[in-house]
Symmetry: C2
Subunit: 153 residues, 2 copies
DNA sequence: CTAAATGCAAAATTTTTGCAGTCCC
DNA sequence: GGGACTGCAAAAATTTTGCATTTAG
């Protein structure tokens, strides 16, 4: 996989680096985008567009939900963030761009990242490579998280 | 993973076996469910609820889309079919219940199944097992399929 | 300046729900 | 017969779009 622009950026210098990302991708560094990106980098809970909107609204009362949607779509196109595939309908997003995998709780919908470096080193089977050009791949584990298991009747 | 009820059923005897599935799961074997299940077993293109509805409508003019949604939800609850996670909004479904993985074309949204038995034999890392009870897991590969690569300008 | 981005409102898309009637077990 | 299921219509939920205005480069 191609090294992504955002992969070297830590929360600490996210705001400083965002202008560089914009310069490289050719998108404009607006106030809204800056804030949305910052919030995405801080978030480790794979928020939906709506959740992100609620978080940002406090500091930006005039922000509109459609701008959040449009911005996230733009970020995704430029590989600044990723969509996360879940079984549910609401699309969720993450700014963590290095390779990792997801555990998704079927009960509470919490998404937890995990690493599996020995898997990451493996090549995908020939059969898959023949299907086309591979851009990305990851493992999704679905189950019931510890919290939900404990809290069950 | 627990062996699913539908996994031994081939298209040939799908209709015959559907009543058995219903008996085991305790759901009623209605005409609509029979037809929807049959269509799902025949389909190898991971259709959406709407596409399935269109296919069935010819033979069942009074079928309604909400019944298709409700039926697919019921089937999913009883592990008769699975939802397929895609980046896009429309939920897609499949009746192939044995372990396999997906290649999803980012251009045409075609989902192609592939097998990777050596991966399937591996245990997930300890780190993941600690997150909770694992129900299922699979690999999603995203890329551009051969057809889309060829047809590009 | 100018093309791109935003906010507002309205629409489009996808999925769910209430209810009255129908059908399986 | 009784509870589960269906169809209809209407609503809910999620995402997208058109347009006038504002803003970054």
């Amino acid at each position: 996989m191609k090294q992504s622009l955002a992969s070297k950026i830590t929360p600490r210098n996210a705001l400083d680096s965002f202008k560089t990302i914009c310069a490289k991708t050719g998108i404009k560094a607006t106030h809204q985008r800056l804030q949305i990106y910052d919030e995405m980098v801080k978030a480790n809970d794979h928020p939906t567009a709506e959740i992100l909107f609620e978080r940002l609204r406090e500091a930006m009362p005039t922000l509109s939900l459609d701008t959040v949607y449009r911005t996230l779509a733009t970020f995704e196109q430029h590989h600044i963030i990723k969509r996360v595939k879940t079984d549910r309908h609401k699309t969720r997003y993450e700014a963590k761009m290095n390779r990792h995998h997801h555990f998704i709780c079927q009960e509470c919908e919490t998404i937890t990242d995990f690493n599996w470096s020995s898997f990451d080193k493996d090549k995908l089977p020939e059969e898959v490579q023949r299907l086309g050009t591979i851009i990305d791949h990851s493992i999704t584990v679905s189950g019931i998280c510890r919290d939900c298991t404990t809290n069950r009747d």
